[in-house]
Symmetry: C2
Subunit: 405 residues, 2 copies
Amino acid sequence: MKTVVMKFGGSSVADVQKVQNVARRVVEKKKAKNHVVVVVSAPGDMTDDLIEKAHQLCESPSEREMDMLLSTGEQVSIALLSMAIHHLKAGAVSLTGPQAGIYADHNHTRAKITKILPDKIQEELRKGNVVIVAGFQGINPNQDIATLGRGGSDLTAVALAAALKADACEIYTDVSGVYTTDPRIVPEARKLDKISYDEMLEMAGAGSQVMQARSIEVAKKYGVELQVRSTFLKEEGTWIIEEVKGMEDVIVSSIAFDKNQSKLTVLGVEDRPGIAARIFGELAEAHINVDMIIQSAAQDRTNDISFTIARTDLKKALSILKEVGKELKSQGISCEEKVAKVSIVGVGMKSHAGVAAKMFKTLSDEKINIEMISTSEIKVACVVKEFECQQAVKALHKAFELHKK
Amino acid sequence: MKTVVMKFGGSSVADVQKVQNVARRVVEKKKAKNHVVVVVSAPGDMTDDLIEKAHQLCESPSEREMDMLLSTGEQVSIALLSMAIHHLKAGAVSLTGPQAGIYADHNHTRAKITKILPDKIQEELRKGNVVIVAGFQGINPNQDIATLGRGGSDLTAVALAAALKADACEIYTDVSGVYTTDPRIVPEARKLDKISYDEMLEMAGAGSQVMQARSIEVAKKYGVELQVRSTFLKEEGTWIIEEVKGMEDVIVSSIAFDKNQSKLTVLGVEDRPGIAARIFGELAEAHINVDMIIQSAAQDRTNDISFTIARTDLKKALSILKEVGKELKSQGISCEEKVAKVSIVGVGMKSHAGVAAKMFKTLSDEKINIEMISTSEIKVACVVKEFECQQAVKALHKAFELHKK
């Protein structure tokens, strides 16, 4: 008998009909002689509604109380799904994160899972029940409910699959798998049968919304085989697995992009140690993630330091840079609000030369100017103007022949 | 420093403005140098909405899963109220029933509280926090959430007041106290300053909606002084306390009525032992509460057995009686769907004669026929036709001069 963890997001349990659909999929899986553990998120807009109420009561609500509030969403989902499964004459039992033995640290609203003691889950599986676990939540050392932050339900599913030594972890979502790029931009985009953990990690960093990096990291660490697939269609999705022989034959497996980027430059700061540390230290303290960084020497023994951040952080970053810029006697701050990052990802790059060059040539042929470049062993990322992003993605998809299997 | 338990029902926390209002009342109480524990119910219609969803998924949902589902309502309330109190710059912490140390038995959806270990509450009170506890819920021996059934939040409040040896337990509601009768029917109805536990118990049994009997029983057992008062007005409410000297001077303290009654008669059953046991045994098994019972001997050595039930149970009761009636060879079942029970309640009756007679005379003067009578030491209840109920209440209120202090 195999053990399978199935994870369904909020849009999959948004209303009664959708809960019934999920229940049918779960019961099918169970009838195929599996032990089934299901992880669910809060229904549809419930989390947003609760957040709005909280902000009406208090500008910056206590994080402990936010967790108390938001964790009710998943609890509603697990109870309703359990009832829907009972209606199909199958055994099911719902467990909150704490009941499922998911322990978390003290960081409310963004807690890390510290350990999982799945005794209760295993006991219920032995009884023949489907076990439905509330995603996104655990119990902290203070016996309080702590939520796991963005992508928390995926993380719950992957971590449970690791703790249970499950044979597979299936992430059900509204896309049917991982594509060579976003099909809304490139209609020829192709669903991948499989992709390696490392490629998925690069894609998450490159702006792919399919899964958060933290869940993939845990899957990689514990060797949990993931499948991303559709809640509504029966077709197989994309397996995310350890790199296997043959994967390297494909040089580029996908094109990712992130339009939510801005580029900032601190102009003409002194060329001496400690300057970069000062700038990026201040930004880090304000929880602003800096992505690419370029330092270019100017004529007069001063440097320009350019970097990219998420556009949503722009306002906060500018006000910090004005202060720091003054202190460092910079010649000013320049800002390009609307840039995008376009990345090609593929394990095949490790053993093939000229991949980056082909990317640059493709963009150049399209007369798209590359403003910044960053590379890893299996990724090349370029910053371009936002309005050129779609054109870049289409051209690269064609150049690397991603529509062909 | 006094310890006060404040309980707010669902209509008091139905929206953001109402939660803010409750927060202000709580902070005022706290500033008057009190330790404050607050018990809240689920916001407004949330419980009904969740029940509806559950029934869309499953005709008779598992009781364990219903408790999992419904307990989220109170959890939303405690978190929101805590935020609203923080906004007023006061310390507050929310606790679910299980976190507050409320232990319950195995009876899902109608669990009894088995014990309370209020260590966590006391620890938070010592830190100077207002402690906000989710009403209506506890943890059962299986480590599952169990809800306490109708009136469960009142019960939570009273039981916590007992466990904490609180100086008072204030039940905030949309009426401003206990009245001599329903002011919507008798405009001269007067709010009582105080009333004894026993009178409140009789009133709950007689159809008063103010508080459920189980909470009053616990308050009586542990000597918890209760005050029923308005969420929205500042005025003092009604104290529910142990009988004190002087209370007996008031012969009748209030008139209660219950319009949700039906009368059933099993006609012409044999006059031998075991017949009544058979009839009422079957009804009890179906969880139908029988209120008044009258057995009248007919000429032909058979009996007619009449009794009243809640009108909501009528359909179920009739189908049971048809079966049992056949077995017992009864001459038929007669049913009067719309009757009402009108009761006068007062500790003074114990030491005053002629109270019942005065009630009967008053109703007779109004040409209201009394169909059944039941009495206790401090109560006389009469069954009348439903359409005569209001007239009966008005006449009795006047006859016993309840408008006068």
